[in-house]
């Protein structure tokens, strides 16, 4: 038995509304909001990056878990916006959360799903008794090219999970992945913004992998959609999760709690994990949660999670996802550009 001992999220306080961006590009705010299912997105402060957010989320997770950081012997940080191309974010996180020096640490990259893959790695090391506790983090300050659709959805955020076999608040009863070489979204080194395949990112990428990973997991565990109380899917916008839920036979009501993108944008490696955290903030013991992430390139990790009794006590100490979502300050486009350093001279 292995599972989640504690979790934490971090969302920067700044936001920009869709209409602030449409104003600049001459788009219709209503059409974008309805089309993407996004109202506003989070914007990092100028002194924040994937590492600082990972540390905040990591510290929150460890506090929630109630474990001594020196007993965490593996840290995996998944991101597609690591501050260094060479020098791991994971070592800085390890130092900042107090886990150094007796641990292994490494950075991971798989578009939006590196965070969930980090959980799988921790599960393996814990189950095999290689380590007592592991820390898996997904963190990103994603960038969208000005004027591109992505500009409306690229948000910033981080989520961290302490994985172990003791004092769990939720058991991970199984995990399953589906991976193929599918070039739906990429970024070459030295370029500022990613490129994507437009509509190609839908059916052959997001839907194919999400559906297959979810189906295979349910088959492996002998479960049906009706066995689940919640479903959290990767959420590049506010629409895809509802579509994939429908394709899999999940009621739309089950995805609501885990759908946070409409208010903070797509936080990439943190997206599914922040969605899961939002569910864990309210779920009751013995309820079952499906989480399926998606990372472009492409692949999906699916998890079946059962909430345990311990969550009631531990939950009392922590700030919820909705707290972070609601703690906000709005920026106009000019300040947004300054914050995101989109001007060449910056």
């Amino acid at each position: 038995m292995v599972g989640i001992v504690g979790y934490g999220v971090y969302i920067p306080i700044y936001r920009i509304k869709v209409e602030e961006i449409t104003k600049i590009w001459g788009e219709e705010a209503g059409r974008i909001r309805d089309g993407l299912g996004i109202i506003e997105k989070s914007v990092p402060d100028m002194d924040e990056d994937a590492a600082t957010m990972a540390v905040e989320a990591g510290r929150n997770a460890i506090k929630y878990a109630g474990v001594d950081p020196k007993r965490i012997h593996a840290i995996f940080v998944g991101s597609e916006s690591h501050p260094y191309a060479v020098k791991p974010t994971a070592t800085m996180v390890a130092e900042a959360v107090g886990a150094t020096p007796h641990l292994t640490a490494v950075d991971m990259q798989f578009a939006c799903k590196a965070g969930t893959t980090a959980i799988q790695c921790c599960m393996g090391m814990c189950s095999s008794n290689m380590i007592e506790y592991g820390l898996a983090i997904g963190t990103d300050i994603s960038q969208g090219k000005p004027g591109d659709t992505l500009e409306y959805s690229t948000g910033a955020g981080a989520a961290a999970y302490v994985i172990g076999k003791k004092d769990m608040i939720a058991e991970i009863e199984g995990t399953c992945s589906y991976t193929t070489d599918t070039p739906d979204f990429w970024r070459r080194p030295g370029t500022d913004f990613p490129s994507h395949g437009g509509r190609f990112t839908g059916e052959p990428a997001y839907f194919k992998h999400t559906v297959n990973a979810s189906k295979n997991l349910m088959e492996k565990l002998g479960l049906k959609p009706s066995d689940f109380d919640y479903a959290v899917f990767h959420q590049p916008n506010g629409k895809f999760p509802a579509q994939v839920a429908s394709m899999l036979g999940f009621e739309i009501s089950k995805i609501k709690q885990g759908l946070v993108t409409p208010l903070i944008g797509n936080t990439y490696s943190a997206a599914s994990l922040i969605g899961l955290a939002s569910v864990l903030d309210v779920a009751k013991p013995e309820e079952r949660i499906l989480v399926t992430s998606f990372g472009s390139g492409a692949g999906s990790d699916a998890f079946s999670i059962i909430v345990m009794e311990e969550i009631i006590e531990k939950r009392k100490k922590m700030k919820s996802v909705m707290y972070y979502v609601g703690d906000k300050v709005y920026l106009d486009y000019g300040l947004y550009v300054k914050h995101r350093r989109k001007l060449k001279t910056l």
Partner: protein, 134 residues
């Protein structure tokens, strides 16, 4: 630009990341940053590391409009002397707050942020800053 050498910055990581200072076992005084010599006891003192909680209050503050090289993007920003709950004071930036809310005595808590970077190719120096406690 205050260019701080790599080893010099690295030596201070425990203090900047973990707010680790020293306590003198003899006179029980608390210090930040860490000190090898207790100024009260000198030779008779014995200092050991202590990790501060990161909670404190604003002792004084100023908004900097003329930034030094390397901090231009962030100007104007707030610099404060924070008095930690455990006693020692330090100088740090304030983040995520409206200037109208910054007053002497307001409780604050530590956050982890970028402090400065050595240009586009150099090292990024991370460490503590503070925000108003909620």
């Amino acid at each position: 630009m205050v260019t701080i050498g790599t080893p010099m910055s690295w030596r201070r990581i425990p203090e900047r990341y973990g707010l680790i200072g020293s306590e003198c076992e003899i006179c029980k005084a608390n210090f930040f940053p860490a000190r090898k010599i207790c100024p009260n006891c000198r030779r008779r003192g014995r200092t050991k590391p202590i990790r501060y909680s990161g909670k404190g209050k604003i002792y004084s503050y100023s908004v900097i409009y003329s930034p030094p090289t390397g901090f231009e993007l962030e100007a104007p920003y707030i610099i404060a002397i924070v008095e930690l709950d455990e006693g020692p004071r330090l100088t740090s930036q304030m983040d995520d707050c409206d200037l109208r809310d910054v007053k002497i005595g307001v409780p604050v808590e530590m956050v982890f942020r970028k402090i400065q970077e050595d240009g586009k190719e150099g090292l990024i120096h991370y460490g503590f800053k503070f925000k108003i406690a909620k």
